[in-house]
């Protein structure tokens, strides 16, 4: 479990991405719940470093043995880093989705875009409901 102060910073989208804000830099990945729904992940495509992404816009693809799914960014910004280690070994996304297997880092434009996102408790409730 993440520490108490880190927990408060992590937010979640309805598309099952998590986002952690540190100053104006955000780290984005997909949730444990998302990986359980997807199954074994075998391919990851990430947005290019230097590209701009718009809130709720397309920011990559994950493919499981079953299907391809788009990744969306919960907030707008400029991609400053992407995680090549999950491109080389996509199975990392299944084993550690909410820490080591982050997807990309953003320099965000507008931190108020975080306001509409869910906290962990809200997300857990949401994912349970959307599962049933």
């Amino acid at each position: 479990m993440p520490k108490e102060e880190q927990m408060s910073e992590v937010k979640f989208s309805k598309e099952h991405e998590w986002i952690k804000l540190d100053g104006n830099i955000a780290i984005v990945g997909i949730t444990q719940h998302a990986t359980e729904m997807l199954g074994d992940i075998v391919f990851v495509e990430l947005p290019d470093v230097g590209s701009s992404v718009e809130k709720d816009g397309n920011a990559g693809v994950v493919e499981s043995t079953k299907a391809a799914s788009d990744i969306y960014t919960p907030v707008s910004g400029e991609v400053i880093e992407n995680n090549q280690s999950i491109v080389d070994d996509p199975s990392k996304v299944n084993s550690d989705p909410e820490s080591e297997a982050w997807f990309f880092k953003l320099k965000i434009k507008d931190s108020s875009e975080m306001d509409s996102l869910m906290n962990r408790e809200e997300y857990e409730k949401f994912s349970k409901e959307s599962n049933s």
């Binding site: 199954g39 074994d40 075998v42 391919f43 693809v61 493919e63 043995t65 079953k66 391809a68 199975s91």
Partner: protein, 368 residues
């Protein structure tokens, strides 16, 4: 139409199956371990597959039945010995494939294993062609189980003594708790293995014994990655009513002695064998890990569209993206550079040999 359940439904649930609807049946796509682990376990140990949704068609008759069936299937049935199995096709008059199937000579007739989605239509087509002269039974009282992998022979031998004496593509009657069962040495994974036809009321106990002896239930997800690594066709994806066995690169399944004979589509097949085909099924390897799924368009180096992917996935045992599809015949030679259009990007790929994974079929009958 209500979805059907196989006799193993409760056992699937017990082992944590996720279900999907497939050909009108609730079938397990995967269990708790997931597709990749299930795939690898089958290749290293053994896996059990519930394929009870497939059709088990029995046709009984005299010597005339051989003649009449040869007018339907492009194989030399006179040379098919008792308990021997052959891969064949039910074809339309254009040489397209209604279904691919395994036909086995049994006492007083034949057992034909049909694809689940095709079995009812197949029955009607065959019944009509045989003019209702013979006893036909698409037997719903029987389940069908496959056990596949290097340990399959040892696991099955513990429960059914002497099953390991079967040669590849041969079958026989055996007994399980005083009930007759029919086992063939065959499969759909590229591994040595068996298919067991067994009464519905006995199948759960039988599978539990296989599990107790070290095998594991494997879902349809891994069945698909295993068969694709083995270069085997999935009906509805890689072959259908618009593809002929020759275009599908399955010429080996048409008996040489039958090429001059008459069967549905025979003149088209003969012409394709003599003059060649416009499109051909080939193996395809993308240069990256991206998955090239069915309907992905294939282009040549000059950006001309030359074909389409019919199946694509990640191959857990070969650790790369694998696919097959049809290309214009002039682009079908080994190592030809092609491009796949995936999400708007052109991904380099090349034509490669099938299978992706080398087969491990049993050679002899007594290789203990």
């Amino acid at each position: 139409m209500e979805t059907k359940k196989t006799s193993l439904f409760n056992l699937h649930q017990k082992y944590g199956a996720k279900f999907v609807e497939f050909a009108g049946y609730q079938m397990p796509i995967q269990y708790k371990d997931g597709i990749i682990q299930e795939h690898k376990f089958t290749r290293s140990n053994s896996g059990i597959f519930d394929v009870s949704h497939m059709g088990q068609l029995f046709i009984f008759g005299d010597d005339n039945l051989i003649e009449d069936l040869e007018n339907i299937f492009p194989i030399d049935l006179k040379k098919l010995n008792l308990n021997q199995s052959k891969y064949s096709f039910l074809m339309n008059k254009e040489g397209g494939i209604y279904d691919d199937l395994i036909i086995t000579k049994i006492q007083k007739g034949y057992l034909i294993i049909l694809n689940a989605a095709c079995k009812n239509q197949d029955y009607k087509i065959i019944e009509e062609k045989l003019e209702k002269k013979y006893v036909m039974n698409l037997d719903e009282s029987l389940s069908l189980i496959a056990i596949q992998g290097p340990d399959a022979k040892n696991v099955l031998e513990k429960i059914i003594p002497n099953s390991n004496k079967l040669r590849f593509m041969n079958g026989n009657k055996f007994y399980f708790k005083e009930t007759e069962i029919y086992i063939t040495r065959s499969g759909y994974t590229g591994e040595d293995g068996f298919e067991i036809s067994i009464k519905n009321e006995k199948v759960e106990k039988f599978v539990e014994l296989l599990i107790e002896n070290g095998s594991k239930l494997i879902g349809l997800g891994a069945r698909d990655t295993l068969r694709l690594e083995a270069g085997l066709c999935l009906y509805g994806n890689d072959i259908d009513q618009k593809t002929s066995p020759i275009e599908a690169n399955l010429k080996w399944a048409i008996s040489k002695s039958r090429i001059e004979d008459s069967y549905p589509g025979s003149s088209i097949i003969k012409n394709q064998i003599e003059k060649g085909v416009k499109k051909l099924r080939v193996g395809i390897k993308p240069k990256t890990r991206v998955i090239a799924r069915g309907d992905t368009k294939i282009f040549n180096e000059e950006s001309k569209e030359i074909g389409k992917i019919t199946s694509g996935t990640f191959g857990p045992s070969v650790d790369c993206s694998i696919a097959m599809g049809y290309v214009d015949n002039i682009y079908s030679s080994l190592n030809t550079k092609i491009f796949l259009e995936i999400r708007g990007k052109k991904i380099p790929a090349s034509i490669c040999n099938l299978p992706f994974y080398k087969k491990n079929y049993a050679k002899g009958g007594t290789n203990v």
